[in-house]
Symmetry: C2
Subunit: 137 residues, 2 copies
Amino acid sequence: MQHCCINLDMGTVRKTKSVKALLDVFSKKGEAVPVCDLISTLGSQMNRTTIYRILQRLEKEGTLHSFTDKDGQRCYAKHEVCSSTKEVHSHPHFQCKECGKIICLSIDVSLPKIGGHRVEAAELLLIGQCETCVGKD
Amino acid sequence: MQHCCINLDMGTVRKTKSVKALLDVFSKKGEAVPVCDLISTLGSQMNRTTIYRILQRLEKEGTLHSFTDKDGQRCYAKHEVCSSTKEVHSHPHFQCKECGKIICLSIDVSLPKIGGHRVEAAELLLIGQCETCVGKD
DNA sequence: TTTGTTTATGCAACACTGTTGCAAAAATAA
DNA sequence: TTATTTTTGCAACAGTGTTGCATAAACAAA
């Protein structure tokens, strides 16, 4: 049996200061983070290019996954859960239009079938108000 | 009753040569088109800035709608159908990972409910193989 | 620990996407 | 036709993301 997305031994990605600092941001935040936020947070500690390259490596080995948020910005999040029973691998996310917060949803989304087409993956972004911002109305 | 997205009289958008040329591309193609394609197609006839501004105006008045494709590129498509019975206004699209073709789906997608959150909109992109590319395997 | 090998980083440069201000041109209204 | 409003082209700029290359850091082996 093959693991579909998590490389448990971290592959050949070295645990450098920069990699640790970046993963630390994800651990502390616990949510998806836009790349631009990572650059403002870590830009003084490491080069912009380094951030992009670490993100690519960590996504490739399965520690992170990426998607596009409601404003077209690329976001990354930790890839903790990987259900191998899912027929189609989908990444549902929710983004609050008030505060911008993004959460990864672990729910399964039933995908529509389209005649003659083979659906292999899906990107679903739900947009609305989070618990905090619903209360502010 | 209020129309949710189509401005039938075209509002105050003037029918200039550039607007006609751009809408012509959508009519001929009948599918969603990435902005970069529009620029390569129309870039010799009009300025890049003009293309971006026309797209903004036409989206604002409801003739076009936009979304992000699998590679993070912004795409536009004609907004012909607008079901006012839908509780949540969603734009499902399908993109072929082989040829890149994008089609707008008129099907309804049932959106998951998330406790404490208000879901107002959704962006769903299905990725796979289109009818043509399925046959090529 | 020390050495050698591999991977990662910083820097500069570049390409691409998208926006803004302003003067000139085109479209519409009178 | 003239006056008014919208649209366009151009130049400049900001943001995002990539590449090549020399240097630095991490790792493996002795």
